[in-house]
Symmetry: C3
Subunit: 207 residues, 3 copies
């Protein structure tokens, strides 16, 4: 029997993979390319985190992520044209994935003995870096650097984790609070189109 | 005396470096930029594999890859205009490199105790990821996500390796069979323009 | 009290972060995106080096790099429009950063027992790879592959380090000489617009 967290992990992976596969399909990738982009969107953040923490990336120990991405590809192949109607559903799934990946990233870093400021960054990398690699692969400027609050929601969740731990709350309560913080921040940001300020260009910037 | 595998490795590295340097020259990179792109095309896949497997990247233990890339750059500088006539030769060399890199990647992962599904991915990364980094550096959508079968040939080779091992064949026979499988798949795919299906776009996909 | 090297490190990090943030602002990134690009420009090279050398990335052990990037962002937000007048100042800071990062990269690799040809590459990666990631993130062809001598200055510095060590000079003298070599090479290259030759395109190159 899969646990509740495993079910959430599967849902999050599926939603992240769908987001990668859909963007790949808009660029007319072939099935293999779409699969790779979907897979990297789903596991890229966790892989960078695990390389930085010097542990074996999670997807190398369990083929569930490969299978899950395969199901996501099958889904898009079969129901691609009807996906638009499910936009809101996938948005919810994606936000669940973001919340869960952030909590997993923060928790794993803390368990390895890193301080909280590292753990918050690792949580944000887990949640958001997969989407950055996805956008590099499809040759677009990463969305999270320009659109409404996304990675900032991970940072908020990481800080909530920290505060809860500081208040000596139980680990599972820290995790639930942090996950809810990510989820709610993300939902509110999209609903009310909350954006961070744009950095005004200099007209003729040169490095 | 170099062994037969070392000669093949040199040929493969040379062909991969040439492919990077040629694409860099089409974008008017300077010599240094072209060298870096050639080098990363040749050793990028193996480096990502070794980071994931947590071992020291092969090119850090032997300067042959640096030298080989230098020879490739010299070749393009001297004979660049005549390279087009050698297109088929380089295609054969590139396919040899792809086959060899895949076999090395699968073999190394198995030797480190990873299961076959990880080894097949590692073989494909070894063969194909260098080209992905190359395309990111020259700011193009990675070719392997859109063109005829390339990384899929690595997957086919990895599966052949697995089947041969399952049939209790000698290691060297597994490797030769897998290498031939990659090489033949790649040659046939290009000769008969075999492509994977394109994932049909949604018109207005958004992540 | 911070040491002299720490002060130089802070100046270099600040200059690198500014260069990332300015280019991000030209692409209309939001504050978060600009911060991330600035941070990655500053610590990206060292992080790749440390992943290759299999040690913990420096920025994960000291929050100074996060703080320094935050100050750089604040600076651009407050004084962005006046930055252009400081172009030469930042060019000097950037060159100091390049020199220092190169020396740190070479020194760290030597201390870990790698041969000099690896150390020179690691020094160049430390100095120049952050800018490559920056340019990938803002979806431009990396500047260092096309413009005047930049990463080559790191290579020159690494070779000077090697020669000084070969001549049995004191470690601190090796480091000062190497750093000056990077700095002077970079300054001269920009002042006299010294470029490497462009690799002439083939018109219709295909990988």
């Amino acid at each position: 029997m899969p646990t509740f967290v495993q079910i959430l992990d599967f849902i999050g992976t599926f939603a992240f993979a769908i987001s990668g596969i859909r963007l790949a399909s808009a660029k007319r990738f072939d099935w293999f390319g779409a699969y790779v982009v979907g897979f990297v969107t789903a596991i890229g953040g966790g892989t960078i985190r695990d390389l930085l923490l010097d542990v074996t990336p999670g997807w190398m120990t369990d083929p569930i992520y490969l299978i899950c991405t395969g199901l996501a590809l099958l889904w898009v192949i079969c129901f691609g044209k009807h996906l638009i109607h499910l936009h809101n559903t996938f948005f919810i799934f994606d936000s669940i994935g973001l919340a869960l990946f952030t909590v997993v990233g923060v928790g794993k870093s803390i368990a390895l003995g890193y301080p909280y400021w590292v753990a918050i960054i690792m949580g944000s990398i887990t949640g958001a870096a997969g989407g950055v690699i996805r956008d590099v692969f499809i040759n677009e400027i990463p969305l999270i650097f320009r659109k409404e609050i996304y990675a900032m929601a991970c940072v908020v969740g990481g800080i909530v984790y920290w505060v809860c731990d500081f208040l000596a709350m139980q680990p599972y309560l820290c995790q639930i609070s942090a996950g809810l913080a990510v989820f709610i921040t993300r939902i509110l940001a999209v609903k009310y189109r909350i954006c961070l300020p744009i950095l005004s260009g200099e007209g003729n910037a040169e490095g």
